[in-house]
């Protein structure tokens, strides 16, 4: 059972890294600014998922702290960039 779990966790981490590469391609070749911003937001979310998977693989909960900081900062960054694109100002 333990070997199966390790194998599935490593496979999920590899899949998430491949999905990150797809999102980087999407940010590079986006149609418009909002499209690229969606890709950047999705890069943040998938990095969060990869950090949680690394925490599961190494059985070390310090990576969940890193994911917590990344979630808070990525949320604020996405909101600020969306407001800047829509209104041409942040405040």
């Amino acid at each position: 059972m333990n070997e199966v779990l390790t194998l599935v966790l490593h496979a999920a981490l590899l899949i998430h890294i491949a999905l990150l590469a797809v999102c980087v391609w999407r940010v590079w070749r986006g149609e418009n600014a909002i499209d690229r911003l969606i890709g950047a937001d999705l890069i943040g979310t998938l990095t969060l998922a990869a950090l949680v998977l690394i925490a599961l693989i190494t059985a070390n909960s310090i990576y969940i702290d890193v994911a917590l900081g990344l979630a808070a900062l990525g949320f604020i960054g996405t909101i600020a960039l969306a407001r800047y694109i829509a209104d041409q100002q942040i405040f």
Binding site: A12, V22, R26, T45, L48, A49, A55, F75, I79
Partner: protein
Amino acid sequence: MDTFLQIVALLAVVLGTAFSMIGVLGLIRLPDVYTRLHATGKVGVFGVVLLLVAAPMLTPLSFGKALILIVLLLIGGPTASHALASAAYRIGIPMHRAIRDDLAAQLYREDVK
């Protein structure tokens, strides 16, 4: 009991990875900014939350942190998606084969298709 928790965590990891794959597939294949937002919202809400449900079953120390992160994702993810959709509508990105636009009638903006 330990094997049962491992099986539940395994199912949660597989289901969360499947949600992430479907979300990125929607980001590539869907024709429009708004429909792409509909697909990528699922990655933040279902994919990562299911991985975080699996986290306390395998690492015994991280229950409170995983709960805080789940609450933060459930509040922050839909808010970011709404902000992106609002920004896309306000700079006038067209919808793909839209039949009607109720928000334009609400805002008295007939110039936005």
